[in-house]
Symmetry: C2
Subunit: 277 residues, 2 copies
Amino acid sequence: MIILDGKKLKQEILDELKEEVSNLLIKPKLVVIQVGDDPASDVYVKQKGKMAEYIGYNFEHIKLPSDILEEELLTLIDKLNDDKEVSGILVQMPLPSQINAKTVQNRVIASKDVDGLTDINTGKLVHNNDTLISCTPMGIVDLLKEYNISIKGKHVVIVGRSDLVGKPLINLFLNNDATVTVCHSKTNNLESITKLADILVVAIGNKEFVKADMVKDNAVVIDVGINRDNNKLYGDVDFSNVSKKSSYITPVPGGVGPMTVAELAKNVLKAYKINRH
Amino acid sequence: MIILDGKKLKQEILDELKEEVSNLLIKPKLVVIQVGDDPASDVYVKQKGKMAEYIGYNFEHIKLPSDILEEELLTLIDKLNDDKEVSGILVQMPLPSQINAKTVQNRVIASKDVDGLTDINTGKLVHNNDTLISCTPMGIVDLLKEYNISIKGKHVVIVGRSDLVGKPLINLFLNNDATVTVCHSKTNNLESITKLADILVVAIGNKEFVKADMVKDNAVVIDVGINRDNNKLYGDVDFSNVSKKSSYITPVPGGVGPMTVAELAKNVLKAYKINRH
């Protein structure tokens, strides 16, 4: 069993980007908009700021009160869309209930949509056109490629169908010639399907949900879950038992999480280039 | 075994639309652009014209020489996008090789994209927002619903991953709470996967490719193939043998094909309403 070391690959990616950015006269700039005081969001935004500082990106964290109106948020995004200094715009989820998240995400201009969440970038991914793609799915595929795990012709089973992870993964894996199955909360006999997976991706946010008897021998197991319990992090996979029968597996933490940050870093530079073009 | 009668349902849909359109003072208008002289395209455009005439839509068939430049085609689309008389614009595929089909399809404004092929409408479908959706996939789901075949929790296996059929079907079925598997030319052990299907959809364009031993007992079988051989039409499914073990099956012709025309008719009225809004 080999552990897929996302932390190590992240560092390599950041160092490459740092090198490239050191040669740029005008630096890329990432703007993160946070609404309200969700503590998990604070952690994520801080990670993004550290990443930006390390690489040499300009970084702005705009923190807004939780009672802000949707219209005010949209006006802010319009301003950032037009701002030539801004390469990438990221709206940290979750948003308070008076704000429609889809409306807000789609207001970000496609060329600065470093989360790959706009309808237009999602459609481009489906049609296999080069675009800004959601960070976690890209991180998963890059991690597999780093370890020379072939995807073509493999049966990939994705558990979870979120807009951020599950759905873009379908298309990324299809574009890499995998056979893809998507399962979710309405799936019958889930374990009969997860057992078919050559590559199993779990992204449901349910602590250690996937047990060893749900996994085929020698499967590659990708755990996207980040579940906090008593200040400790757990994945969606029962690592200690599943790791015994898998060929490759991601740890939590240190697997997919760091890759998400690395891919965001890549997207900021990509967006910078698109906007300078 | 019950035959899913797309021809009958198409007629019902067309009659409903005809009734609704008879009450409109300004009629919806469908414009079909055809480039070159592909004989199959001639047939398809003619079908669309007949549908429009039956319902009472205005219809314009713009036939362009096969050596037209992409730029000229894009200028024409811009003009139709701006034309308030035009509700829906459809560019008949295939296009000659000097023209980039994706560029052309994406030039159609989303609100007139009755084929549901633009990046933005594709992204909206992925995100389960109401939009204009590709006609054949919509026709398949409507046909299943007409016969009260439940989709939720069912394992749907789609063979074929085209932008027009396979890919939008993934999202339509996911949005209806099915577990979805997508197979294609790079899939290993295809029959081991097709045999899992509660609902099997085949859209590969390969005459009678799916044999009885690839299908589970009592499966619902949807045949999207239209293969011409000696002036006779064949599906992608070996109907005479597969029909013996399936619970429901679509014939070719008379199954999915008519539904595609019916859904186009629905999209034209939907686009009309969006544009009048």
